[in-house]
Symmetry: D3
Subunit: 256 residues, 6 copies
């Protein structure tokens, strides 16, 4: 089978990661996966949501948006409609949950780190690109605190990357572009750590259901792609990458 | 290990299904899974969303809400806040997607079937109970059309049931109640058909990530639970159950 | 004249009151008047609105909603529309005002008691059923505080019940069902105490105006119906009923 | 008993009615009742709400608002809050219902007459002044259609006026000013026709309930006040007043 | 060239200023410029916005609205639509900015003065009339504080007036009425002080652009009109006018 | 005087214009003026607003937004707040009005061209950069129609550019960066054509008023800057620039 863009079934699109893309945020990344381009920023706020006040614990939250010009049909602004779509809410909750898995929130004090993912061009896989790019922005913001001496321990526990997989014409594929995604009968987003463990699995039979065997094929593809993405994150982060995972969460250590 | 309510790790809570619970809707069900109680209704509207106008195809959509008195802390009404929470949107999108997998929308004409799931008492697993109960309400509404002669073919393609599974204290468990859900390190909702195939998998490591082996254990539990639930649906539906799956979708038949 | 459901002009529909219908709220009632079914809950919150802060006085407030499946045409959710209808606002203000007449707010400390009335099936008279059922939920919530020793004085001053009356085909009728209500030329909701006094009168000539004589006939009917409802409330409450009215409001005692 | 402003218990405040107060609307009135001042306009729109399309029937609807400078504490704009208060909704529904009782909607074609009541100064009784003033604006707008020949029959069926009554310090009073209203234990708004019949009665025991005898006293006061107001409306309208009630509604005639 | 209402090209419409138009606000003015009529009120609130808390500095803010009956086509209420139009926001920001130029905010303590401008009849130039009238209301409110002894220094630094100018059929005109405004190719609003200096200039080529020479002609006209308006403000304010500008802002004095 | 970034008082910042920045929109530009970076897109929609239906005339409208990471303090999303700020509304109205001056709307048929300006980094002058960049995106979108043969006449009538000017420490300056803008006592945005004529002038005395002489100095600076910007636009557009202004608007031609 030949894919639309001549890739193999288990091949990622070209990935480019530009760190320090903007000058205002503590962390900012332009991530490009093929024609999908997302600006991910991480900004630190010295406040936490009400449920964390007085706990000496921080928070990571995410917002996601598509620019009107990112899609073929102009994407109407959610601000103009006055309400945020269900799809957007789902995505920003997913990004936030995934990235909170990367960090020991007890080590950053009562701070909120806002992860903003703004899609400037969409060609499939924007939510997973947001997680992969957002992770780097998060690490840079945390490092900014660490280098200033505002936090004592480097609190990033592990790498987090994400990728989409799906079944198109009965063929499991890695990293679907928009045209493939549109035709997919099964669509799955997978978020994993550098320990080969799962953080999130969201799989949907778009038109038809899928078997246990197909699920296994998809998870294998996802695992391969995520391993490659984590290598790129590691390379992009340079020296900082070595700080990741050095410190383990005091409690919550898993005893298997 | 002993569960809070003395169940075994792979045991469902007591399930009660009351068909025709209300007199206005074409289909209405009270589903009780332990202390979780959800009213699921199916109502037929002779209109379709704009994107389906003129296609001779119908639609199934779902809404979900929790009554203020369903939770320990009073649940503030989303109407009073003027906006629908992300969690609610996520759930109603999940219910809608799942139930659309049960029906050949090309057989019901330009009609929308509204599935409303109102939680009157919440004790964990409200979204999966909504799918399991909503399926029966959907079948009853479709049967109402069928018996009136408004549709020629009985369009229900398969059963759909859903259940939650999770890992609590390193132990995979079936059908979590609220207290278990609260403590779970991994939480997963699974929707399946009576062909043992998946419609949706949504798994989240709440605090820690999970391994491929743990994933497999959870999917095994879910499959067991769903098989039991489908038997209860079959029983509740009586004769109508026999009509399910008799007709296959003309196109979209899967050729493996 | 024969009524649609064979009742006499001055006859209530069958009334069923189920106390402790739900397990989360401090008070919860399912009230059924014919086919009208309303879940009324009372939940205690340890906060008061800003205008009562520091006054050592409590508050009772009410919210009302109809489930989508409660009506013949599906009732669109107010949360989905993003705004609460005028009719709903009118009803919840009426319920709140009426129930505040039952209680000495100075005796419950700075607490808010939320009365939630959710109509699961509508067949006329939902707002008056909400008041009649909500009263019992309120008493149960207050009793929960009283038994725990959180309040010293049982603060319920009198019973409160409500009923609708109206003129259909020139005939004054008690307790209109939906079909009668639809045809009524005059429609009136009356709230009274067990002292035969009025708390609220809301009468509307729907198409034509009404005379003083007709008003008197309607008030007589309402009084009869409310007396019967208060007897049912008394019976449902059992021993607790005897505590009602034992303590009079310190100030505000009426000297006639 | 001496009232705050030296009136007798059954005396209206000074009433001034200025017709044609503004030049844009088809009908416009400044009504002053003591220090309460309301601008009432009636504007004709050649459209009807969806439920009346194709019925050859018109509609009358009302909106009500208080200017920020009308009250002692600045009244925050509902546009700035983004939602209309329950009190406002209740009032505008009352005004609309009351004025629809004045007109044979079948005689004005598919037109909506918008009644806007904007309180520029509030000193009690703004909703009843809105009805009394709005009636005149409505008649002027209807007359504008009639004189242009757009409608054949003068469709105003009767006069409509409204007044507030209440009990202050156990004394029933007519036409409460703000200070009296604030202290009233019972508060009632009454809308009547020139046939001495009721259109609306809305009575509320603010702190205590009220007896049947007190109700009768209040209704007597209201009737006296409304009779006087209708005389002032008649005078203000001059010749046009003579057209009112000439034509009776074809169907809906009441046969007693 | 003869103007629609027989004015000369550089002639203002008749201006009437009624001080103390309402009894609740600390300052209130009805300003009429031809058929344009605006109620301007100034009300004092003992709170400031968050960014001024603890600074011992006050604030002046403005809101603007058109009554539904002020325009030929009924103006739909922004409260009913649930959002404030861009035009309204632009106008109320302009009014607020302009009037803040009149006052030394450091002299009024932590108070907000709300300027509300409600257009009861619109015939062009409502925003500039709001500024001219709002200034007088502001002075009266400030004087109310000053006379009570709540502030020590009279903080009004200079007069502020505003006028519209425009080009109609190639002719620069002063103070456009609605019909002229509608036809204007260039439309400009100018706000000035009694020192002949500019506070705001907002000029728009509606259909065509305009030259530097035309700009100069328009500014000359505006300056003439504003000088006349300031004389009327001075006259309307009587003795209070003499207090204006007596005290200069301590810092921020301009050294030219 | 030395400016913060070593520019002369009448010197623009470095300007970079990247055409065809994105692949979905018909026109897309990244404009950089110093550290200010705005993505401007132009997208064609085959619909017009209601007021233009059936007129065979098109429309140009603009939306503007700042990414959360564009500012030093994270800019909260307007979609999350549910309402668009006054500042945003003002800016998008300004952009739309300005760009409509560039085009003969009667030549593009019933189409809307959406101009979206998304600020990815803000350092002063974002609204004027949006106009200057948006003009190029508009020309590219129009050219796309022209080259496809969808429109017969090239409808761009003139160039449009915009710049900010202001007075800082008594010194008039061209093209203020954020730090200068923050300190400016007078702030002015000017939009002009390549005929040296004005489209918009918006000048505000932020703290103090300004004289006619200062206004003249500012306009001279603006004119110089805009001439330079138009040259850059001309260069960026290459051959297409020669089509601009070839066709004059049939009616509305100005006869001076």
């Amino acid at each position: 089978m030949i894919r639309i863009d001549n890739r193999k079934y288990d091949q990622l699109r070209d990935v480019h990661i530009t760190r320090n893309y903007l000058k205002r945020p503590q962390g900012s990344v332009l991530i490009e996966m093929g024609d999908t381009k997302v600006i991910c920023t991480a900004m630190i706020d010295d406040k936490v949501p009400p449920f964390l006040k007085g706990t000496n614990t921080g928070w990571v939250t995410a917002e996601y948006s598509m620019l009107p010009g990112s899609t073929i049909q102009r994407k109407a602004r959610e601000s103009a409609r006055g309400r945020i779509e269900g799809r957007t809410q789902e995505i920003q909750r997913l990004i936030g949950r995934s990235l909170r898995q990367a960090i020991d929130l007890g080590q950053i004090g009562e701070r909120t780190i806002w992860i903003d993912c703004d899609v400037i061009q969409a060609d499939g896989g924007t939510r997973t690109a947001s997680i992969t790019g957002g992770f780097i922005a998060l690490v840079d913001a945390v490092n900014w605190l660490y280098e200033k001496g505002d936090i004592e321990t480097f609190p990033i526990l592990n790498f987090i990357s994400a990728i989409s997989v799906g079944i198109v014409d009965n063929q499991p594929l890695l990293d679907l572009c928009y045209e493939e995604d549109h035709k997919a009968s099964v669509d799955m987003n997978v978020v994993m750590t550098d320990n080969n463990e799962f953080v999130e699995i969201q799989g949907t039979g778009e038109e038809i259901s899928f078997s246990r065997k197909e699920l296994d094929q998809l998870l294998n593809l996802a695992q391969k792609g995520i391993n490659e993405l984590i290598e790129m994150q590691r390379e992009a982060l340079g020296n900082i990458a070595e700080l990741i995972g050095k410190n383990k969460k005091a409690e919550g250590d898993r005893d298997e």
